[in-house]
């Protein structure tokens, strides 16, 4: 059911879990916990549909490498960025959870097995299509991988009936978190503000912050500032280790034997380095996306190659005369970014209309990030060349070293990760393996901001798995009648 902002304080007196933010993580948790009979209050800062007054709070600065304007990189209304996402999903690889040879900071304090029990439920929630298992390509150092594609579920539409009819789930729109009060290691209340400037306080046994991969950091930075550091006493890592998935068009290739990569059957093929390749080449994870060209573009690329390689051109002509199909492909990529302390969300000096400082994002790609994408392309190029399966051309910006990153085009996937990093101790992160703030017994963080590293796969499936795992944890505490204790 929906409740009015004016009634939120009165309603909250009997709430088990107050979830702050109605995006992929928040709605997943609200639906799941309320179905289990727990009394849930879902506070969404935006309206039911897009509104400029809400979206305005997403304006912010970016510093460092070229990046997408923060205003347009996400949506601030019920359903969050599931209102415009593409529905592309894939779980993280097993080795994404461990320390990589090139960067030990990629290690999570939990393994993939901790999330595996939630795969089926998360896939059902997001309406994912089943995908085949990864297939190593012998002798290449690569594997063929699969994504669930093309079914972008809009969570606010899918769960519209539950949101409006459930008796255990109350949803309040235009409820924007502006402050938290803490005492003796517990958050005692959250203060919300609407667009008329009215303030209301909410008390609940447990709180979950689920405002996305930038605003989880922004709001905690602001609330921690207001409590003089009582909320997060060890806050060195707050907002830090922020990550994206850099995206770019990385080259082209001509395939003499498209079947070797499976391209004769499907228009698009996805490849990724194997665990051994990642270790031996000292790189991070990477997803290469092969898109087939039309015949005209293929011929243009063939002509271009012929200018550089006249002997090979003679062989290509012979093969084509014999009826052999040669495929041109465009290569796009999304690659893992090193969790780096300097990449961060911080508070700007400018306040939004709600009185909360806007975000300033400081983001740069490291030498390792650049090495990862160049080396991944060389692995594929060497495999094609050594086995005479094709020839690969690196994009101009990638051919020369040091790699000069593109300053336009895709840039990144709008995948905001890190900032409230999961860790085993408060010195290195913000939440523990249960996603709870180290210093608060009843305050949790949901979403990709808790990722310790991000692999190359789109993050939504993983963040929903984490959210459902958090539901189990909270359900267990609630079932035991567990009263939040002093930390």
């Amino acid at each position: 059911m929906y409740i009015d902002f004016e009634d939120i304080s009165e309603h909250s007196s009997d709430v088990d879990v107050c979830i702050i933010g109605g995006g992929a993580a928040g709605i997943s948790m609200a639906i799941t916990l309320s179905k289990q009979g727990h009394r849930v209050l879902l506070c969404e800062g935006g309206d039911a549909d897009y509104s400029e007054r809400s979206q305005d709070s997403y304006r912010g600065e970016t510093v460092g490498d070229a990046y997408i304007p923060l205003y347009g990189a996400r949506l601030r209304y019920l359903g969050g960025s599931t209102n415009h996402w593409g529905g592309v999903c894939r779980p993280l690889d097993r080795y994404d959870f461990s320390a990589k040879t090139a960067a030990s900071e990629t290690a999570w304090p939990i393994g993939r097995d901790a999330l595996a029990p939630y795969y089926r439920a998360a896939a059902s929630m997001l309406d994912l299509t089943p995908t085949p298992a990864d297939q190593p390509i012998s002798g290449s150092g690569l594997k063929r991988i699969y994504f669930s594609l093309g079914n972008p579920t809009r969570l606010k539409d899918k769960y519209a009936a539950t949101l409006s009819e459930s008796t255990t789930l109350a949803c309040c729109l235009t409820a924007n978190l502006v402050a938290l009060k803490t005492q003796d290691g517990k958050v005692t209340s959250a203060t919300f503000r609407n667009y008329q400037g009215d303030l209301r306080q909410v008390q609940a046994r447990y709180f979950v912050l689920a405002c996305g991969g930038i605003d989880n950091s922004r709001l905690l930075l602001w609330c921690n500032h207001q409590t003089q550091g009582q909320l997060i006493p060890q806050h060195d890592a707050l907002g830090r280790y922020w990550m994206e998935h850099p995206h770019a068009t990385v080259g082209k290739a001509l395939l003499f034997n498209p079947a070797a990569l499976g391209l004769d059957d499907e228009y698009n093929v996805f490849l990724s380095p194997t665990a051994n390749t990642i270790a031996s080449r000292q790189i991070l994870n990477c997803g290469l996306r092969l898109h087939r060209m039309n015949p005209e573009a293929t011929q243009e690329l063939t002509d271009e190659l012929a200018e550089q390689a006249p002997t090979l051109a003679g062989r290509l002509s012979t093969w084509q005369a014999q009826g052999q199909v040669i495929h041109g492909i465009v290569l796009r990529a999304a690659w893992e970014q090193e969790p780096h302390y300097d990449n961060r969300v911080e508070l700007s000096d400018e306040l939004d209309e709600l009185g909360v400082p806007r975000s300033r994002l400081v983001w740069r790609q490291s030498e390792l990030d650049r090495h990862t994408i160049r080396e991944s392309m060389l692995v594929l190029g060497e495999y094609l060349r050594a086995n005479d399966l094709g020839r690969l051309q690196l994009a101009d910006w990638l051919a020369e070293t040091p790699v000069q990153l593109p300053t336009d085009g895709e840039l990144a996937g709008r995948h905001h990760m890190g900032g409230t990093r999961m860790s085993l101790n408060a010195e290195e992160g913000i939440v523990n393996p249960d996603c709870r703030l180290f210093a608060q017994d009843n305050f949790y963080v949901a979403g990709s901001s808790v990722f310790a590293s991000g692999g190359h796969a789109n993050p939504t499936l993983t963040l929903v798995q984490l959210a459902l795992r958090l539901c189990d944890h909270l359900g267990s505490r609630l079932a035991q009648g567990d009263q939040p204790a002093a930390v």
Binding site: A309, L312, E382, L384, R385, Q393, L394
Partner: protein, 59 residues
Amino acid sequence: MTTDHTRRGLLKVATLAGIGTLLLPGTALLPVAQANAAKASKPPATVMVNGWLLNASDR
């Protein structure tokens, strides 16, 4: 220390020599064969031209 000429020691030497024979076919001792083997196992040289990863023989 005197050399161990026991039966067991001689057997060990003979066995190692046998393994060596298996690992090194007789033709490998010929200079021409060695040169050919080296040529066959060496991957074609890579050259990068305008971003293309090519064999030297492609040009």
